[in-house]
Symmetry: C2
Subunit: 406 residues, 2 copies
């Protein structure tokens, strides 16, 4: 699986370019907003994640910067997370020494002593399902665990390929894999933080392609979420998963189906929340913005029901009475600004107004948003000495390695 995934990541840059060419004709705005180098696209997604209130984490390999040598990409990725955002991030896991580079850079950013006492990096350790932890992943795991940094111990199961074709069997295998990985972390450093990770999808038995947003993986989520709570460890799953190549209705149904069920299964760490297309082989700006809207709705939903006196609103019902409307009553006036989640991209207007305003679809409206966000982006403040220290570390380490593209 690691081999397949590595290959997928290598293809990703090409796929984006195709996708971006298809939906984004070059324009002055686009040129100002950025270009198509994957490492620049990576930075753009870090910037967009930093700007939204609906993501609380900068992610890890948000996309693969294939324009940079394989053995040097992690420097650019980790530096981007540190420099262009102030949200937590994931470290490199593609080789133990790259994990170590992540830890060293975190020491520069946070201070060595602070790092020893605090967990500032959460990194993704995928099982080579079925039932194998490979040396690369365990090597990275050891680096992070020894440094008291968190790992997401994630079986990666596409039912039918890496696990049996039934829900119960897949859940059992996921549990066994996650348990063994989390136990290994405790052998490396007792008490080192772990998250029970789960990536679950099915496959098309006709083509072998992974499928998303379908009912069987949803059922797996509820079982595994309950098992994680039984163990008392945080649960990772997610996110806006889909197989569609474009931000169309397929992408949206599949993403919504995964996001909503992951939320209700009790996910603590929703990975891949925004931007997924083509089974993770590409990232799309419009899909990213569309999923952010969904993430905002999830933030509202999980607050639950307000049962305060204001929430019960009895005064409003008494004031308005039968056959009237609540638009102007006092309770509405007091609460209307925060009453409902407000989408930034949904069009709820009349057909006539929507038509007069250009008859746009959701993806077109999302495109306007991300371009505007990138133009308005301002980097968070950083101590120049720390920035210099990071850049110096990256420069020295890059010079010590010859370029490798495998």
């Amino acid at each position: 699986m690691r081999v397949i995934r590595e290959k997928a990541w290598s293809l990703a840059g090409t796929t984006w370019s195709l996708y971006l060419r298809m939906v984004l004709p070059s324009s002055a705005t686009w040129k100002k907003a950025g270009d198509m180098r994957p490492s620049k696209i990576f930075r753009n997604f870090v910037k967009l994640s930093y700007m939204t209130p609906y993501l609380h984490h900068s992610g890890g390999t948000v996309c693969e910067p294939v324009d940079v040598p394989v053995n040097k990409r992690h420097f650019d990725m980790v530096y981007s997370h540190m420099r262009y955002s102030d949200k937590p991030f994931m470290g490199s896991v593609t080789a133990p020494e790259r994990a170590q580079d992540t830890v060293e850079m975190a020491k520069i950013l946070f201070g060595e002593e602070f790092l020893e006492r605090n967990t500032v990096i959460t990194s993704l350790i995928n099982a080579n399902s079925p039932m194998v932890w490979d040396a690369t992943m365990l090597g990275a795991l050891k680096v992070y665990a020894r440094s008291n940094q968190a790992t997401v111990i994630s079986p990666f199961c596409i039912s039918g390929a890496m696990s049996p074709v039934t829900v119960a069997a897949t859940a059992a295998q996921l549990y066994a894999e996650a348990l063994s990985g989390m136990a290994f972390v405790q052998l490396v450093r007792p008490g080192a933080p772990v998250i029970f990770g789960t990536f679950s999808s099915s496959m098309s038995m006709q083509s072998g392609a992974p499928t998303f947003g379908t009912p069987e993986p949803q059922l797996v989520l509820y079982i595994v979420g309950a098992l994680a709570r039984r163990l008392g460890v945080p649960f990772r799953s997610g996110g806006g998963l889909c197989a569609s190549k474009i931000p169309d209705a397929q992408a949206a149904y599949e993403a919504a189906n995964t996001l909503q069920h992951a939320m209700l299964a009790g996910v603590n760490f929703m990975l891949h929340t925004a931007g997924w297309l083509e089974g993770g082989l590409s990232m799309g700006y419009e899909k990213f913005i569309m999923d952010l809207d969904q993430a905002g709705m999830i933030c509202t939903f999980i607050k639950g029901v307000d049962l305060s006196e204001n929430g019960q609103g009895l005064d409003a019902i008494l004031e308005v009475g039968p056959g009237k409307h609540f638009l102007g009553c006092e309770h509405t006036q007091v609460n209307f600004e925060k009453a409902f989640f407000r989408s930034s991209i949904a069009d709820n207007n009349s057909f006539e107004q929507w038509e007069a305003e250009g008859a746009t679809d959701l993806a077109q409206r999302a495109q306007v948003i991300w371009k505007k966000m990138l133009l308005e982006y301002e980097a968070p403040p950083m101590d120049p000495a720390i920035d210099e220290g990071l850049l110096d570390y990256v420069k020295r380490r890059k010079e010590s390695l010859s370029d490798s593209y495998v």
Copy 2:
């Protein structure tokens, strides 16, 4: 509210035409498949509902046949449900005498004696929220209750307009309205069947437009579903609700968000499952097919987890072992045909294959499906004497009324 809804229905024909013009250039296939008369579109949706295994009910006013006089439409609608489908259907509620016509036609179809002992019609009685049941709706309710036919007693709340802007207050009002309506049915005929109906949406506090797929109505659903179970009555809500004018990503996110939460809230009668666009002002063929796919997934999900020995799949895990794949193992071979829900319209193929096959979006693939289905439609068998009886009743009753378009 009834006035607003009636107006909305009257607009519906126009809106479809616009929508259909936009996405469906005329072609030989389209001409063969049907035309744009709303009463024909109505029949088409009845036919499509009849053909899919994922809908168990033919619906009621699946769209408004605005080409037929208002006071005669119900004859065409009820006859269409009876003649072009064999699934259960909803009766007319727009006037007590139209409800009576529905009952009379059901007597012709099923026999008077059968109807007295069996419930064959389930009709939708909407509250004029807040806290009003109007004479039209109660008139229809009385006709159905007296005939021992079922009614869905449905508060129709757009929070902020017809109920307070908070979740708890909206749920409390919904409960009070539904309880009073269901109690009224029992006064008319003790034991007459009722369903606890719920239509819940929020509104944009900026424009006053109803919004769909947002978190607050989802929370309302869980409360009201629990209250229905507490009362021991079936629960209606749903469905594929959305505000989008086209079958784009907005339509899909919103529909999925409502469908999945309605399912998990324990809906027994999922109304408006397929086809909704523009807040219910229009029906779309592509959206209908897209939502059917989701309905199929819901049918799979609610079966739950197979915990039989085959479901547990231990033999498969033992046979395959670490580091191998499950594609060819015996358990997969035995189960692969029914292992996973198979979408008829999702594209899970590689980018390259998808591009070679025309780079279609979900709506384009859905269009192929509904046209094919209409061409392949065959009416269910019906005793010619019964059909003649129905047509004769409709002819006599239509002749007794002068056309009215208000």
